[in-house]
Symmetry: C2
Subunit: 165 residues, 2 copies
């Protein structure tokens, strides 16, 4: 089970929508695990038709003889699905707003995979000008059901303290 790898100190995906996270709730090394998303060829082709109409994303036939060999999701589809999972697994109170980010797709996302996002906070840098804010760096690995990464995504985001009441 992937859950045995120690991704246990994030919020439970089922309850996370009710527990928005503020800066005080975060620490370096903190981990989050998302709920799963199952991807099929219908989703892959629908996304590709709208945003990335290249033969290897549109049909099995079109993928033959290409770098991919068989139908593969657009990397942007993997990225968008990852965002969808992150919105629930890392519910920062003021939202997830990426300022700067890096992406890699170590292997293709294929129909039939079950994806899940494993996130870890790698750095928290308090703002000099805004005492209620810090830049939080997070590394997000989107893994298939075998635990292999299809996407590695690092991002820096502004996160705010709980408002004084």
């Amino acid at each position: 089970m992937l859950r045995s790898e120690g991704y246990t100190d994030g919020p439970n995906p089922d309850s996370s929508m009710h527990n928005p996270l503020y800066l005080e709730d975060l620490h370096v090394g903190q981990r989050f695990e998302s709920a799963p998303h199952h991807i099929d060829s219908e989703q892959i082709v629908a996304f590709a038709k709208e945003f990335d109409p290249q033969p290897f994303h549109l049909s099995e036939e079109g993928a033959r003889g290409t770098l991919f060999g068989s139908l593969a999701a657009s990397g942007w589809h993997t990225a968008a699905l990852t965002m969808r999972m992150l919105v629930e697994s890392t519910p920062f109170a003021d939202g997830l707003v990426g300022a700067q980010l890096e992406l890699a797709w170590p292997k293709p996302t294929r129909p039939g995979m079950t994806l899940r996002v494993f996130s870890e906070i790698t750095d928290i840098k308090p703002s000099r000008s805004k005492p209620n804010m810090a830049m939080v760096a997070m590394r997000n690995e989107t893994r298939d059901q075998e635990g292999e990464a299809v996407q590695v995504f690092t991002v820096k985001m502004p996160v705010f303290k709980r408002p004084q009441t």
Copy 2:
């Protein structure tokens, strides 16, 4: 006009689908300009509902009092639309397959903007192991109708020589 900035040596978007590009057709400094894409709030909300359901991407009301102030597209939506434009404006014969990439969103994409992608080849590194291939680095700026960047995206992609016949 944005076209006066010198983005003239890429293929004409209208004819590009018929002129796939091979490694021999590319050089450092080569530029490409995409056809325009007009984005409206309907597109923004539809994408957000599926992939990035955060209040500032879902409605004007939800965006009030947030970092964005008014409705803004998900950065992943800007990225996906950029890909859609690139597929036509930089028609590499064996496809656009990103190995490694960096993204930044200098300002939000808003309803009513007309986007266009301006691309430039910044490096071509021949492969040592595969004589018919090189890694091509490309910088892609997605700009609004005022010429201001909403996304800067740099990517390295494998590009192949024209097959011997």
